[in-house]
Point group: C2
Amino acid sequence: MSSPSPKLALFKQFALVAKTLGHPQRLELIEQLGQGPRSVDLLAEKLGAPIANVSQHLQTMRRAGLVAAERQGKFVVYRLADDSVLAAMKAIRRVAENNLAEVDKIVRGYFEERDSLEPVTREELSGRLRDGMVTVLDVRPADEFALGHVPGALNVPLSELDARLATLDPEKDIVAYCRGAYCVMSFEAVSRLRAQGFSARRLEDGMPEWVAAGNAVASS
Amino acid sequence: MSSPSPKLALFKQFALVAKTLGHPQRLELIEQLGQGPRSVDLLAEKLGAPIANVSQHLQTMRRAGLVAAERQGKFVVYRLADDSVLAAMKAIRRVAENNLAEVDKIVRGYFEERDSLEPVTREELSGRLRDGMVTVLDVRPADEFALGHVPGALNVPLSELDARLATLDPEKDIVAYCRGAYCVMSFEAVSRLRAQGFSARRLEDGMPEWVAAGNAVASS
DNA sequence: CAATCATTCAATTGAAATATTGAATATACC
DNA sequence: GGTATATTCAATATTTCAATTGAATGATTG
């Protein structure tokens, strides 16, 4: 009757999920979708990859239960299937952080001083937001900012940072964030701000986790 | 200078971890190692796979930071790198449970009545253990039982269940457990016990989670 | 120091995943 | 209805992964 052990059948399904997560570009797609639903088009542009390629990755991910798709007019909008997907990506990241020397090397290699990596917790930020003694920088591109951001945050894309340094209050602490835990832009922003004498730190994780933790989101 | 974006480099590492988890046999190895360190030999026997094959999987897993190896005499003993590995496997399982219809189908198809799947929580079990009004069955093979089990548990491998039915107190509730959440043996045991009129339920998860939650372990 | 046992290595084969390209489909807009 | 746009499909070439087999290595035992 070709009935293999149910355990094997289940493990094959779990393996399908894991295998599908096992591709850098697909992880990048998850990072993007962690911020909200996006069209194939936009995702391809963000990744700098051919549309057909991205489309196929998205379909692979749909078959593995990672994302869902919905047609909206002439666009097909993809979104993460549910919160468990981000949780799984986070769990995998932790394994890599804990056990792969290579990860440590990359992180240390890119950012000279280790302490600039110590992030501000979400709790700390919501507290200090109320005091008003902190400047929050959203260093993502303007289009992503427009689709949702931390209330009160200034949108200063990395490319404009230098030009807008003068408008920042040097008396206030700065907290920068972008897409997720390893979105490089916030590291880069903090590094540059510190070089200019500002007291700057990163927010732990990024936008999707801020939302997931039940914090307010503004959009414009 | 061939210095790709650090984000890409990191994502490649994360993808390596996920990809390595993406193989049913390797997930099975993790399930086994979740119970404690094991030799290549023993693992191969448990999986019913060729030793060379298992050895290669283990080496792949070591390169991905999932397991660590240590030589003990003429054996090489592998163990999980740390708790994050089990956490990652659990997170992946959750994605599959939430979003893959196939998983639901398998679980439902194998066990006719859905309620037999409602597990006893670890907290509930530790409470009832103190009252002494519950019989705990460890349905794993004797060798795995010997390496660590819930205190007070009876070792009744599935193959011996029928023969030992008469020795079980029909007045007590029975809680069965085995290796992990989808170790089929505890489902099967509960199903058979219920057919015989016993009040039987499964323990949520299995041995590794019991240990991870800080509960006592007995060995013999 | 030879014999034995556990593990790993190396080479081969077959299977699967990926990127790429151009064509096909579906929807909206005029 | 025709055209533009967004997405998917199909076919192919390339690369990577997995299982198998037998030989090689490393450690223990007598």
